[in-house]
Assembly symmetry: C4
Homo-oligomer: 191 residues x 4
């Protein structure tokens, strides 16, 4: 089974997720600056999620690049990842509309954590299919960065109830570390 | 006529269907747990439909993989299947918002049944084009699983008016049996 | 310049148009048959537009199949066609919500007419690029069916104000004649 | 890393942006001409944005055609461009609903300016990857037209507060100059 349609379908779903998030930025009534003001947190929330979905697309792109074949479990592990990504528009809108209050930030963190776990499962299913001595396995390595990110989200979620701005800063900080693309896979592929 | 654009178009439509369903999960006003509670049935309904649309994408992916050529009737049989799949967001939202009450569950079952019939028609049109002794025909076989699923939906629809939770359980049960990808086609293709 | 991305972009836009039309089928409040009744004209309107957009996708698929190259004017002629197709969700929703009253039917006809003209312009621009003695030109021929359809829409629009059911019947009738795929192009391609 | 998925993802996002803009054209209640009248500015705003997004797709298509390879920074420069394009539906709807009043026109100009800058950054990142003596660099040249367009937007934004119709005319005028596709790249590619 070839990976072409898996890539095409994932690209389609991720493209739609990243684009329909902007629909939460509702066109306001009125045409002065005061109507734009309540939209600022929604816009910031949108930017954060745009970056996160962009990170997943980039990493997915790199990961699939090293993939030779797919099977049934890979298709489902991929759909599982897409499911958690599909909840981004909801949690983004909820966090933005409530001006980054406590519970929405915690729920946003849960979706981040579940997406990270789903990505990790996808990597494991792919490595099991290709073998632990495959180029893919070497390219991904033990994925310290991915595990640390998941750990950061897991810590940020309970932290929200003490200081939700700190939790939000963790999400922003993790995103910044990922803006640098995954050079490990690129490196092994060039070798 | 090659099958590439048929796959690309189907991937596009299915990707959009699976993603816009999440728009039924409306961002609530307020930021405490009480506003999330009424969303739980909508979320469960979304998960069920996400799995069903995922099943159709997986099976469509497997089916098209064995296809060599397409013609006019195949294009229309495929659009017919996409039409019934496109009603998923509506019935999903309706079933979720009404907390799985009777009529929405019955209507959901009708869409499931019509999609199963449309898939079966697509298979028949494809087999007629490739011949009953083609690799495609052998790969699909007599599709007992597909026919039993359609039968289960057909039984669940009237059952709704006696015990709608039982009907819903049938939908969930059938989905679980399909989470296992269609090994018959994979097997024949590997031969 | 190759035609691959033109096909991919058109597939994407048409897939989205055909799918977001279903968003006009708003999830009703309540769970009995009475809430479904006002949705029936919206559903019928959706089916008609689904078939029309499907026809455009099929014919576009056939047309592009015979195309060897594209240039700037082709890209714009194609976008012009996509623009008129993009108005389908609006006119479909308006016609359905107003239970097929006069003005919406006339406006629907205007969009049908403009899409037919835009398709014809695309064909002309493609033939000018490939030459009047190309396989594409022979495959398309003088497109009597396309011209007669445009004529039918042009007649149906003023007719709406005398008998709008007759106008609607013309739209349905033309759609039925197109459900048969464009065998002319298929025939020449097989030669 | 190959450019195929970058093109596919960009096509997907741009196709969705250009199509969901039409959702701002809300289906009105009532079926006479008076309900269509307030939609005219929304429609005009939609046409302008459809042309602008179409221009970006065309130029992106031409640009990527000359590209041989992509890397991490290219993926992010591309996502940055898509981010600004994704704000088109919002500013289009806001400008249309407020009948082209002052502030929405200025904000529309800001999004135009940022998209132009993002496109320029993408070009620079691509040239840095391919080398200043590559066919890509020669094809793009010093991009006088792109720089003049950005300058025009930058001038139009403050101008809005003196005469917003003049600012709007500048947007329309720049769009018209771009409807002609980028012959420079086509020319060099043919050489």
């Amino acid at each position: 089974m070839d990976k072409g349609r898996l890539e095409a379908f994932s690209d389609g779903v991720i493209a739609i997720i990243i684009t329909i998030m902007v629909l939460e930025l509702k066109v306001p009534h009125g045409d002065d600056l005061t109507v734009l003001q309540p939209l600022i947190p929604v816009l910031i929330s949108y930017v954060l999620s745009f970056v996160y979905v962009g990170i997943y697309w980039n990493n997915h792109h790199h990961l699939l690049h090293a993939v030779k074949k797919v099977n049934g479990p890979v298709l489902w592990a991929n759909l599982h990842l897409l499911f958690w990504l599909s909840l981004f528009p909801f949690v983004t809108g909820w966090m933005g509309e409530n001006h980054f209050s406590m519970l929405p930030i915690a729920v946003y963190g849960c979706v981040l954590l579940m997406a990270a776990i789903a990505y990790y499962i996808l990597v494991l299913v792919l490595i099991r299919l290709h073998g632990w001595d495959s180029r893919l396995a070497r390219a991904v390595g033990c994925d310290v960065k991915g595990k640390l990110s998941a750990l950061a989200y897991a810590l940020a979620i309970p932290l929200t109830f003490f200081n939700h701005w700190l939790a939000l800063s963790i999400y922003v900080g993790v995103a910044l570390t990922w803006l640098v693309p995954d050079r490990r896979i690129e490196k092994v592929l060039v070798e």
